[in-house]
Amino acid sequence: MTDETNGIEVDGLVREYRKGPRAVDGIDLSVAPGEIYGFLGPNGAGKSTTVHVLTTLLPPTSGTARVGGFDVVKSGPKVRALIGVALQEAALDPLLTGRDHLRLQATLQGVRKDQRRVRADELLERVGLADAGDRKVSGYSGGMKRRLDLALALIHGPRILFLDEPTTGLDPQSRTALWEEVARLRREDRVTVFLTTQYLEEADVLADRVGIIDQGKIVAEGTPAALKAEIGRPSVHAIPQRDEDKPRIAEFLAQFGEPLATSRDVAVRLRDGLGLTDIVRALDANGVEVVDLELRAPSLDDVFLAKTGRTLEGATEEAEAEQQQQRVG
């Protein structure tokens, strides 16, 4: 076990739905106390199901999971007492005010009566909703709802925080504010954070370690830097002057490395020892013209591509198309 108090240990976790595929297919993971763990994957990869199991909302089909030292199946109430959760849908009551929500949540979480108001005021202030606390949630923007959701998750001072796609649909400013708050929680309060996301940048900026999940399995795990270093070599992306030039430029660039599947440009992962200048010289020497040429360091998307053969964006689109087909069918 990582730690008696704040860690998460998952071993061979499987969750099957009665009439569906294995949403989670034998995952193992370990989150250290005070760590921000980013769980990255496209829609339908199994991120939310994992969170539901770890937060005791769903029993696993097999495998074990311990949160804060407690088994999620055998000690559900103990797990719930030490975690804070903000699920993907910020399920708020539009008729209640922000302060009503905090008061209700504080009571249900067993916060002492004399502490409820103080705690609510403190959290409203912290998430920037002090002025909006007495307004009904129906008048809140998406960002305000997310911030209130975070405040609700923190009302009882949890040691472990689960955030399921907390910034989906948020504007960049709200996203950055939420990132800062999550980072502060880890830095000042030593809260362990399990964060699911489909945003590469979010995992990259925020997470100490990242687990990449696809079709219910963890396909890669490590610090963002280590994962990118595994890919090692940068890629070169060229934008042709005309679309019909793409095949010719692709063929030309293939001599510098292996081609990458992208929809917008022509790209190759450079072979060891080659740089951008080698390509510029070759392009010049052969009179091949491009509008733009860019050297990119490996990203988490490259890691995802290398591990699954698809880009994260492409996998998300595939999952959405599949869901749409299931709805129509």
Partner: protein
């Protein structure tokens, strides 16, 4: 084991606050039953001339109906609200707290009961100001309040059961007319012994809603009728016990937390 009553009162408070902030959910249960009673009292006044009709005032006779009709509205509202909580994920939010299952059900029903008692007081106030004399006196009004609370609890539990079971507000709304059929094939407009159509009299006799109406009616127009009270309380308690049991079971399978 920590004290769960603060949880119960917090959930009940939310239920009352939500209702208070949605006039559309508490005004119809107050107004429609009274409006229907006024229409019936106007159109069926001559029924009081039938030999054996128990009172001279049809309004006094009909005042019992809003009690049950209002409870049906409350059932639907409670069920629909709960189904919405399930659909939006609010029940998951509650499931992630230290809230106990029974405290959630009790809190929600406490809110329904509080609103049900407000309805009863409103119907009594309207009836008394329209000239109805409550024959059982002040003690009878207190019994009416208690009965209103039990009816709201029983029907509220039925609404909660449907919500936990189906998770669909639309499904609950669709059941509303079915419950109303029970009201219309009861003794709501005519005493059972004066119903001329045989099948209707049999149906009204088999229908528990008849005994619930007659229980309330006896306190208003007769005074203290032990048989009517026993049957009325008996049926509503049976409905309540069955509904609460079903609701508690459905809640357990809905809140699948470990």
């Amino acid at each position: 084991m920590s004290n769960s009553w603060p949880q119960v009162t917090a959930i009940a408070r939310r239920s009352v606050v939500r209702t208070a902030r949605q006039p559309a959910s508490f005004i119809p249960p107050l107004i429609f039953p009274i409006a229907l009673m006024a229409v019936n009292a106007g159109g069926l006044r001559s029924s009081t001339n039938l030999p054996g009709f128990p009172t001279d005032s049809f309004l006094a006779f009909a005042l019992a109906v809003p009690f049950i009709q209002g409870a049906l509205f409350s059932t639907m509202n409670a069920g629909t609200e709960l189904a919405r909580d399930i659909q939006t994920g609010f029940v998951n939010r509650l499931a992630l707290t230290a809230l106990r299952d029974w405290a959630l059900l009790t809190g929600q029903l406490a809110g329904v009961v509080a609103l049900g008692m407000i309805q009863v007081l409103f119907y009594i106030a309207v009836g008394v100001s329209a000239g109805v004399e409550i024959r059982s006196g002040f003690a009878g009004v207190l019994v009416l309040l208690v009965y209103g609370a039990i009816v709201s609890l029983s029907f509220g539990a039925l609404g909660s059961f449907l919500a936990y079971r189906t998770g669909s507000g639309e499904m609950i709304q669709a059941l509303f007319p079915v419950l109303f059929v029970f009201l219309f094939i009861s003794s709501m407009n005519t005493p059972r012994n004066l119903i001329g159509v045989e099948w209707f009299r049999i149906a009204a006799t088999l229908n528990p809603v008849s005994y619930m109406i007659e229980c309330v009616r006896s306190l208003i127009i007769t005074g203290w009728d032990p048989q009517a009270l026993l049957l009325g309380f008996g049926f509503v308690i049976i409905i309540g016990v069955v509904s609460l049991t079903l609701a508690a079971r459905a809640l357990r399978s809905r809140m699948t937390r470990t």
